[in-house]
């Protein structure tokens, strides 16, 4: 009896300890659980740290860059990578490493800023369209018209008509990516707005704004966050493409796409001029892609394990 009750106590204590341990390991908040699932994805985790490192580099560029971004030197033209110039120099004798470091500022800024704008506009449009059925047809058809044009073509047309330059390039990328966010938001909101808690909110007389912003949007955020992470990579590539074609940032700004374009003339004799900005673009967009994948898996518990 004693023995058995003791074992029972021990068993219970062990179970309690185990539960506590599990509680500690497995957070109960939504964000905590998501983070926990996210961390399990090693590739996404590395992608995140790469991105953080790039942001730090971008902020510190003027401090860590060995040369200025437009320090031309007629005596050091087209050098291949060496001790003085780790990434070599370009056709004006400018240090490519320094330009890559400064260029990360432009790429990241363009990437994040355009996504913030196009996401905000797209989400609001999508949510309104889904919530107010009368608006739906008109708004979504407009979005469809914009979305029907291939994104890059639209961006090119906008950039060409507005003229080149950083601001116009960003406007071009923003407009051309709005439809993606509007569509995703709309389809998510359409499912959510039929749910009981929305009806409950309605029945106690909550205003539309309150329902949309307090009840609906927080519940449709995960696909939007995933889309926007991928969207940053997309925006960086789109702006690089525009700059490559001469529709984006103008010299001497060290935009990576523009650096690629400038280097392509020398591709056969001095491939480092293209390889280095090319790899920089590849890495950042890969990092953002795996990060986006990681978020998607983490947000969706059904995909877990």
């Amino acid at each position: 009896m004693t023995a058995s009750s003791k074992t029972m106590d021990q068993k219970m204590a062990a179970a309690e300890a185990k539960r506590k341990k599990r509680m500690k390991k497995k957070p109960t908040t939504m964000a905590g659980e998501t983070w926990h699932r996210f961390k399990k994805n090693k590739l996404a985790y590395i992608g995140m740290w790469y991105l953080i490192a790039m942001v730090v580099i971008a902020i510190l560029a003027p401090v860590i860059a060995p040369y200025g971004m437009d320090d031309q030197n007629a005596d050091a033209i087209l050098l291949t990578p060496n001790a003085d110039h780790w990434f070599g120099t370009d056709n004006f004798g400018r240090d490519i490493l320094s330009r890559i470091l400064y260029g990360s500022r432009i790429s990241l800024m363009v990437g994040f800023a355009t996504v913030v704008f196009s996401m905000t506009i797209g989400v609001v449009l999508g949510a309104l369209a889904a919530y107010y059925q009368k608006l739906d047809n008109v708004m979504m058809r407009i979005v469809d018209i914009i979305g029907g044009i291939p994104q890059m073509l639209l961006a090119m047309a906008i950039a060409a008509s507005l003229g080149s330059g950083l601001r116009n390039m960003m406007i071009a990328v923003i407009i051309s990516t709005i439809p993606q966010y509007a569509r995703i938001t709309r389809s998510s909101v359409l499912t959510i707005k039929e749910s009981e808690y929305v009806e409950a909110a309605k029945s106690i007389g909550a205003s539309d704004g309150h329902i949309i912003f307090q009840h609906i949007l927080p519940n449709v955020m995960s696909p939007i966050i995933v889309q926007s992470t991928l969207g940053v990579a997309n925006a960086i590539m789109a702006s690089a493409t525009l700059s490559f074609m001469g529709l984006g940032i103008q010299p001497p700004s060290p935009e990576w796409g523009a650096m690629l374009a400038a280097g392509r003339v020398y591709l056969r004799d001095y491939p480092h001029m293209c390889i280095i900005p090319g790899v920089a673009l590849l890495l950042i967009s890969y990092a953002l892609n795996v990060l986006g994948d990681g978020f998607r898996d983490a947000f969706d518990p059904r995909l877990k394990n």
Binding site: L43, A74, F92, G246, P251, V265, R268, C274
Partner: protein, 524 residues
């Protein structure tokens, strides 16, 4: 899934690097082949009967009077010919006209046409065709500058092979203007039958006629077997391939995809010169590239600021870097090969002087401006270097590079503060070289909006001066004025860069129009 994607990306990178590594090697040694061009042998047999030309420019249409772009003429000159033409020494030589003479008062120019010149449609060319071609040309924007001084009331046909061109006043440059490729002669009958659509009937007298074409891609020409010059052309078929990307033209030539390329990129000249299978043709052209100021709005409506820019930039260094050792740093306001050129010296870098001028103009700390350029690699590079140099004395210069069509629209509207552009003086004489800055410039393009009645008077007087020395003295004074007012800053006399397979003989760059004749070419 994720691993797969990573592998795919890795594979892509490896492939790209592999390709690059493959391209980077294979650079043969050896010097430049020298040739005996234009060999004047009676019996020339081409060992190959098709010549493939890589050209940067789509000719767009077959209209003999349209388009001011040299590379378009380089195509059309095979189909259409002019009464007279310019040789590489800058002399006017016969083409469709055998001889010509001035009337005693120099108001009339009589041409004696070559007899037995047969159009592609088999009909003979007569004075009727010449007059008709000229009248049409005078109504076409790009060709009309050649005819502004023609007095149509007194211009007349004397007989089948004689035509008199009258001018409104004594106008010595007229003969040179008639060597301009856009004044080419076409068949009046064919034009009327085609309803004016030259896409249907490009009927000229040239050594080649159009056989087939895919717009924007390839243009196939076939020898005109009734061509007036005995035995020519030597090569039966010529195919123009439009290859806009400069590096691709080089690669095509190296791999044998084309036999001849126009506008070889400066960055590839070294590589091509060291290739034994390729001959590079380099000649200084009649072209001068300029920094052109727009003088009717701030900041460059102020002469002091224009001069400040001229003193702030180091043109020789900039040219060396941007043009990679090709071209000649400009020594004056036109190419030295042009009659009327005066050696009056150019501005040289002097930063103190530049700062002084800026202070005097009321901008001691600098000002902002926008420099426009088209997308030519060399010009874009030059713009970036100038931007950097101007930055050193506090001039905040933005660079805007535009596609050619947008570029033309921009400067036609006069939106630029200053811009980069080149002018090829196709008549090889002073009137055309300096008339660009005349306030009633009839060239169809206006860059400067600068006007000085004294300058206008000088040019008008020069054009009517028969004595060459007296005329050149007037041109010298005009150049002094241009220098003082600093309307433009000359940068470089560009080099014409062509490259061909070593087996191609008889090829020569064309200095006047940069549009070489292919009728003398043959394969050894």
């Amino acid at each position: 899934m994720k691993t797969k994607r990573f592998l795919a990306m890795l594979l892509a990178v490896v492939t790209i690097l592999g390709c690059l590594a493959g391209c980077a090697s294979s650079n043969g040694g050896g010097g430049n082949n020298t040739l005996d061009p234009g060999a004047d042998i009676g019996e020339i047999r081409s060992s190959k009967d098709t010549l493939i030309v890589g050209t940067p420019q789509d000719p767009a249409n077959f209209d003999p009077n349209d388009n001011a772009i040299q590379m378009v003429w380089a195509f059309k000159k095979n189909i259409y010919e002019t009464l007279v033409t310019l040789d590489n020494e800058g002399n006017i030589v016969p083409m469709l006209a055998e001889s010509w003479e001035y009337s005693d008062d120099y108001m009339e120019l009589t041409f004696h046409l070559r007899q037995g010149v047969i159009f592609h449609n088999g009909e003979e060319m007569t004075a009727e065709d010449v007059l008709f071609s000229y009248q049409r040309a005078s109504e076409m924007a790009n060709a009309s500058p050649s005819f502004t001084m023609v007095d149509w009331d007194n211009t007349r046909i004397v007989d089948e092979y004689t035509i008199v061109i009258a001018t409104k006043q004594v106008y010595m440059p007229q003969l040179n203007y008639l060597a301009f490729p856009l004044t080419a002669i076409f068949s009046k009958k064919a034009y009327e039958e085609s309803g004016g659509d030259f896409f249907k009937a490009p009927i000229g007298t040239g050594p080649y006629k159009v056989a087939n074409y895919i717009s924007g891609d390839t243009y196939e020409l076939e020898a005109h077997d009734q061509y007036w010059e005995e035995g020519k052309p030597y090569i039966q078929h010529v195919i123009f391939r439009v290859i806009t990307e400069a590096t691709n033209r080089t690669i095509e030539l190296e791999t044998g995809g084309v036999d001849l390329i126009y506008e070889a990129p400066a960055s590839d000249i070294e590589r091509l010169s060291s290739n034994e299978d390729v001959v590079v043709y380099r000649d200084t052209s009649l072209n001068t590239n300029f920094i052109l100021f727009r003088c009717d709005h701030a900041p460059f409506d102020n002469q002091l600021l224009r001069q400040a820019v001229a003193y702030a930039v180091d043109i020789p260094t900039a040219i060396e870097t941007a043009y990679k050792g090709t071209g000649v740093v400009a020594t004056g306001w036109c190419s030295p090969s042009i009659s009327g050129y005066a050696d009056i010296g150019v501005y040289e870098q002097d930063l103190d002087k530049a700062r002084e001028l800026m202070a005097e103009a009321g901008y001691p700390d600098g000002f902002s401006c926008t420099l426009y350029t088209d997308t030519t690699a060399e010009r874009r590079d030059l713009a970036e270097i100038l931007q950097n140099q101007l930055g050193e004395i506090g001039i905040d210069c933005k660079v805007e590079s535009m596609e050619p069509v947008a570029y033309q629209g921009m400067y036609a509207r006069g939106e630029h503060d200053f811009m980069l552009y080149g002018l090829t003086i196709t008549t090889a004489e002073g009137d055309k070289a300096f008339r660009w800055w005349h306030s009633e410039n009839t060239m169809g393009q206006q860059f400067d909006a600068w006007s000085d009645p004294e300058y206008d008077a000088l040019l008008d007087e020069a054009a009517a001066t028969i004595d060459e020395d007296a005329r050149n003295e007037l041109y010298r004074q005009a150049q002094e004025m241009l220098k003082e007012a600093c309307v433009v800053i000359p940068t470089v006399h560009r080099e014409i860069l062509s490259a061909a397979s070593a087996s191609l003989m008889g090829f020569e760059n064309d200095l006047g129009y940069e549009s070489p004749l292919l009728k003398n070419c043959y394969f050894a």
